[in-house]
Symmetry: C2
Subunit: 212 residues, 2 copies
């Protein structure tokens, strides 16, 4: 069987198919830059429902590009996110993805308090002034914790990708968070996940590459 | 806002919700063990369509459990899969996830031949007799390459999780592969991805844990 072998051809053809099948009314509601994020999320999931679930609040792409251009730490709530983000672009920008769920002190404290490790890990991130962005792809508890810290004035992120997935708390955590006055990309409802979070950040990286 | 904080409670409640909302006719078509995989994939994606896209062919769960119990190498086509699989269970079983896309020789050869790195990386896996399982979550080209190698009698995997995602070649690669007489879990159509591949393997790990 014949198939396209060159990676660049595959991506171009994929984006063409996505544009031809996505709901035109929904697609028209996004800016050019937002469309790049929408397309990459659909490319990653093969799920067109994301076009109607993605929300861009308070200029997240512009704010993220500005922060990332300075070289910052980005907190991610899973190791899968850490592995999925383009390492060459991270290095070039002087950025780093951090996450503390496997740290000994975090594991100990989570067990003692009977709460999730992701929650304790996130509190550790709040104390690091170099952490300017948050990618939450898995744990609703992490997003609830971030929302509370923003409300209390403890942190003021430059950008948040709020896409935890699941049936218990995920939708509620995103609804709660969406009231915050913070630059953010949000997937409404139950859907989301690590690959979606990665797609959002990588899309912003590609936009930055195009401006070089 | 109040929310469930204990990880075990969250998972139990999620599975209860999934069972109450999944199409009962589709769900009844699976064995008890297959249902554990279906539930975990839906838990990971919040996408109930997976119940009607997942196929189990030639006893993949029994064959995977047998192979994994002996301690084998499992090839994965992305680093995200490698990061997502439960490291404690891997270690306990003496299993290892391998992947060669970042190897210098693979990068060089892919460039020279003008084909994807995942394709060259996979050919390298065929030459390693310890590789008994394959998790393909991203690249259709990897699955096409695996299918060809099985047809040619070059490899005979104990289990394959065939869930590449995308718009160019993904559905075709899985349709082609499904004709092979190999124990496999397949997601039909365009959907799939690294988190889906991880969910399948982790579900099998949980089944093995329950038997200890």
């Amino acid at each position: 069987m014949e198939f396209i072998k060159k990676p660049m051809d595959i991506e171009e053809e994929s984006f063409r198919i996505i544009e031809s099948e996505v709901d035109p009314g929904v697609y028209a509601s996004f800016s050019d830059e937002e469309r790049m994020v929408v397309k990459r999320v659909i490319h990653t999931t093969a799920d067109f429902e994301y076009a109607s679930l993605l929300r861009f609040r308070h200029g997240p792409i512009a704010s993220a590009k500005k922060a990332l251009g300075k070289g910052v730490k980005i907190y991610a709530d899973t190791n899968m996110i850490k592995s999925g983000v383009n390492p060459r672009t991270l290095k070039r920008l002087g950025c780093e993805i951090v996450n503390f769920v496997a740290d000994e002190d975090v594991i100990r404290e989570a067990k003692a308090r009977g709460i999730t490790r992701s929650m304790v890990s996130m509190e550790k991130a709040f104390d690091d002034p170099e952490v300017k962005g948050y990618l939450i792809g898995n744990a609703p508890t992490a997003l609830f914790t971030l929302t509370k810290a923003i409300e209390e004035g403890r942190v003021r992120p430059d950008f948040v990708v709020a896409v935890p997935v699941g049936f218990v708390g995920a939708a509620e955590s995103k609804e709660d968070f969406s009231r915050m006055d913070v630059p953010s990309i949000i997937v409404q409802g139950r859907k989301g996940g690590s690959t979606v979070a990665v797609a959002c950040l990588n899309a912003i990286f590609y936009l930055m590459d195009d401006e070089r």
